[in-house]
């Protein structure tokens, strides 16, 4: 008689949030908040963390950023959680490479009185106080399908070019895309394949080529990853498929500007990463000030907007922005 999954399930998990929130508590100053992105030197995270830094300066607290130089170095990220714990920051904002791997270290941190906010990419709910979500996964998934469907006239084969197969957020969005496609108005659209480019330019390139060779009558591609969409756009713009195969997904305006202008891409979307960092920072400060504890239903104000904490301590940033030839020049990130 050993231990099986069933036995463990019976034990049940522990809830993270404890204590009582005081919405009227004063916002503390002089706090230190450590940002721990999936990877330093990643433009997306740099923009996000800059947003966090700005918010913290505004609130009179200080900012620091640490992180591994590789986006797959999970053990490296764990040791950085440990480093922040040792340095006794007041709160940390973490974008987790792995939902489970950081748990032990994060729990140690929470045990030492450090408030933990995850942003962009979550861990298990019991390993942090709150999660700042870039946009509701449902919104993202559904709007991307809507964007593409309009571009291809609600007809034809489409494919998805994702990042790694394990990317949790990608997978959630893809689930919602599939749900959206069940709507009868998409009855002429067929999702033929989900390909994985592992957030690597060359691999995303070759996956795009493969999709087009396998389905020569492909009408559109959704790539819900900034690396993937960029690589796919670069490939399309240099091939005979330029303008014929529609491409949309998540991308940054700076990355995609050329391709929107040269007609490879009509429209794509993204939330503002700086706003994400900003909210993560403000949530961290609110937690450290005792204004919230991460329980469902608590509310707090950040940058003039009131946010309500949803189920499992999730806070949604809002709707993503759609970029196209008309508005793209007014963004710079």
């Amino acid at each position: 008689g050993g231990t099986t999954k069933e036995d463990v399930r019976k034990e049940g998990g522990a809830a993270a949030a404890a204590g009582k929130a005081d919405p009227d508590a004063e916002t503390k100053k002089g706090l230190t908040v450590g940002f721990l992105p999936k990877q330093v030197n990643n433009p997306y995270f740099t923009t996000a963390d800059k947003g966090g830094q700005k918010a913290l300066e505004e609130l009179g607290s200080s900012f620091k950023e640490v992180g591994p130089s590789s986006g797959t170095d999970t053990s490296g990220q764990v040791s950085y959680v440990n480093t922040l714990t040792q340095q006794q920051v007041d709160a940390m904002a973490v974008s987790a490479q792995d939902p489970g791997a950081l748990c032990t270290a994060l729990k140690q941190a929470m045990g030492n009185g450090i408030k933990v906010v995850t942003y962009d990419s979550d861990t298990r709910a019991d390993c942090r106080h709150a999660f700042v979500s870039q946009a509701s996964a449902e919104d993202l998934g559904r709007t991307e399908v809507q964007l593409l469907a309009e571009q291809i006239g609600f007809k034809g084969k489409i494919a998805i070019l994702s990042a790694a197969q394990t990317a949790t957020n990608q997978n959630t969005w893809i689930e919602f895309m599939k749900k959206e496609l069940e709507d009868p108005k998409y009855k002429d659209i067929e999702l033929v394949k989900v390909a994985y480019g592992n957030d690597d330019a060359q691999q995303s390139f070759q996956q795009t080529q493969g999709l087009l060779q396998e389905y020569p009558d492909l009408k559109g591609i959704i790539s819900p990853t900034t690396v993937g969409i960029k690589a796919a756009a670069q490939y399309l713009s240099g091939s005979k498929y330029k303008g014929k195969v529609k491409l949309t997904g998540l991308g940054t305006p700076n990355d995609m500007r050329t391709y929107v202008k040269n007609g490879t891409v009509e429209a794509f979307e993204l939330w503002d990463p700086a706003a994400l960092g900003d909210l993560a920072a403000r949530t961290a400060v609110a937690l450290a000030s005792g204004q919230i504890t991460g329980r469902e239903g608590e509310t707090f104000t950040a940058g003039g907007t009131e946010y309500t904490i949803g189920k499992d301590g999730v806070i949604n940033l809002g709707k993503p922005t759609v970029f196209d030839a008309k508005n793209i020049d007014s963004f710079d990130f």
Binding site: N41, N82, T85, T166
Partner: protein, 338 residues
Amino acid sequence: MPESLTRAIRWDTVVGALLIVLLLLSFGFVDGFGNALNLSFLIGNTLPIALIALPMTLLVVSGEIDLSVASTAGLSGAVMGALWNQGMTIEAIIPICLLLGVVCGLVNGLLVTRLGLPSLAVTIGTLAAYRGIAQIVLGSDAVTDFPSQYLDFAAGRVGDTFLPQAFLPFLALLAIAVVTLHATPFGRSLFAVGANEEAARFAGIRVRRQKLLLFTVTGMTASLTGVFWALHYASARYDNATGLELSVVAAVLLGGIDFDGGKGTLGGAIAGVFLLGALQNVMSLKDVSAQSQIVVTGILLVLSVLGPRVARQVSAARAGRRAASGKPPAPARAPTST
């Protein structure tokens, strides 16, 4: 070269000394380094590298290399997750994973010893293959709900001390490895195999069998590491431990193990592993950025080979001077009879 033998011996003591100096300095001057939690994290995070470094050192001494270790670890973690999801008991899963590691190692070993392929090439191939199989087995799942007594063992400490519980079994394995390499006939013959395989064969050493055994043990240790990794980080994913092979290789090289085979000590290799681990820990605490840490690691590696080289030249020059000064005055030329 006589120096090259003594070089290995000297270099591993240098690395050991460096490690001690670093530890002493860090205890004294780095905030947050000396507390039990940090030390346990430091050791816990370094353990996977140290574990794999044990058989890797033996393998490298015998003139081979296994780059597939990280993938084997990932595969065993993935299989562990998949079987766990199937509802098997953890007590049955772990032996299966170890067995799987044996098979992985055996495949490497057979390809190298039977087909005579270079191990570097073979294990680059299996590096991809094993990781790929892991991906097929577990897909995008991340399994986290392993039983807490196992998780606690893999992440927990001995009482209130800084020692992770898993460190004690590691010490036992280390002792076994040291004795095997440096005191048994088997280990001793590995040095001969690494330095001159043909001469070893002529001396009646069963080269192929030994190598096969080493690859198998390496595979098993790698899968043990994979199991430990999944429990330590409470997460079984197909991409667990990606890139670990390079860390192991770097640490082992730093410890003075010669990749041409036939040279090195386990003490040096393990000192190298913990030196790198401790250095990274200290640098993080000191807010040295990840990028600069990479540069420091690189410089350390270059110095680890240039250092002994310079030391050798200095000592050779000194010996030459000594010999020259001890020489009697040149004798008068012997008369030639023709």
